[in-house]
Symmetry: none
Subunit: 226 residues, 2 copies
DNA sequence: AAAATCATGACAAAATCGTGACAACTCCGA
DNA sequence: TCGGAGTTGTCACGATTTTGTCATGATTTT
């Protein structure tokens, strides 16, 4: 269930929203500073923010949140159309607004549209294969293929390759790999890593002594490039 | 410059949009099937889509695009509010709408908001890089790139370059660099520093014998400028 | 039990590191 | 303006560290 944070000081509107948005998990705040903390603390999916608030106004909250690097979609509640124009500009960071008195139906649709778009960001990358060069890594088959023929990766080799493609071009230290692949309970030597790199290279590189995909970064670790 | 595709059959509106949205690169289509192809072919950043179109209506185009896995933000143009309600629902895939006759200002703001949100997706993950001139220093990749091609910095070279960019325009003495990069346990000669400066210059400067970024400050040390 | 996989150590190969030598340059005073 | 002392640029070499690779035994899977 999606979490929505409502920052609104007018009890009448707050109650109205709460009954209209029963399909969501609602968190509310009637005051700016408190709302700001809640917006940062919880794993909120969307924020509904009134512009007119005592002490700290919605305009400032919005800017503050964006300054702190929060990407949560924000819908502003405003009383006047002109006011909306001011806050909805590029520089404030709000994603949408509705003007009071607003249609609950319209608000609901705008919420849906923003949630859907946010959702897409996180789930659009769930394909079950990864291509690079002439190789396809099939997550479900736990193996990789060069022009259709299986390379016959062992379980650990596959894990490592998957880890590498998921961290494309990042430098991975041997210790990081041991932590993330082997876990903390059994901890082989860093030499073990080199050996797996060797066998992986033999399988996925065309010339394993001159690797083009699994590169060594001397004194640091390895990195995978497409 | 962001690319916007406008799918609209009414020439009057099309001309109006084209003159209002001069800040964008515009591509237009007056017909559904053609618009659908253009939407898929080009690297469009946003689509403005009229609902009422001959032959294939905007509603269907929208659904078709989403079915094909296109995530481009879509703003619908509608004549009636009720019509908007129908297409703006969760199932069609539109992100926003404006009702004719619409305020150009409002449309512009809605475009901005959607583009900003889309932008965040692509740029939110490279916060750990530093640009200067035509070079990008990628912290996670432990390397720097000139127009995309890797410069192949060694670990120590990278450390030093990172140190320099983090202390932009500050004059750094050799001793300070030895302290901060090599640490207090092993302490090479100041000659060593010069050697690393040399190799760094060879990699990041266009003319290494006439450096523009890593400058020597005689009798004091070096300084990095953008 | 056989086969595959995994982990380790030994040694060779390679890359990087640090140094000294000397040339080129800069600054400053004569 | 010239020269000299000090500073920096540059190169090549050896030392050191890191990585590649293989053979071997342990462990797990089939």
């Amino acid at each position: 269930m999606k979490k929505i944070l409502i920052i609104e000081d007018d009890p009448a509107i707050l109650i109205g929203l709460e009954s209209a948005l029963e399909e969501y998990e609602l968190i509310s705040s009637t005051e700016g500073a408190d709302g700001l903390i809640k917006a940062l603390d919880n794993s909120i999916d969307l924020i509904i923010l009134d512009i007119m608030l005592p002490i700290m106004n919605g305009f400032d909250i919005c800017k503050e949140l964006r300054k702190k690097g929060l990407h949560t979609p924000i819908i502003m509640l405003t009383s006047k159309k002109e006011e909306a124009d001011k806050v909805f500009g590029f520089e404030t960071g709000a994603d949408d607004y509705v003007t009071k008195p607003f249609s609950i139906n319209e608000l609901k649709m705008r919420i849906k549209a923003l949630l859907r778009r946010a959702e897409m960001q996180t789930t659009s990358n769930d394909s079950d294969s990864y291509k690079f060069s002439n190789i396809i890594v099939e997550y479900k088959k736990l193996d990789a293929f060069r022009s259709g023929i299986a390379l016959g990766l062992s379980a650990k080799e596959f894990q490592i390759l998957k880890y590498f493609v998921e961290h494309e071009s990042e430098v991975i230290s041997r210790d990081k790999l041991l932590d993330d692949i082997w876990g903390y309970d059994n901890y082989p030597t860093t030499r073990t890593v080199d050996n797996y790199i060797l066998s992986l290279r033999k399988k996925i590189e065309i010339d394993s002594s001159n690797p083009r995909h699994i590169l060594t970064v001397h004194t640091v670790g390895y990195k995978f490039v497409k």
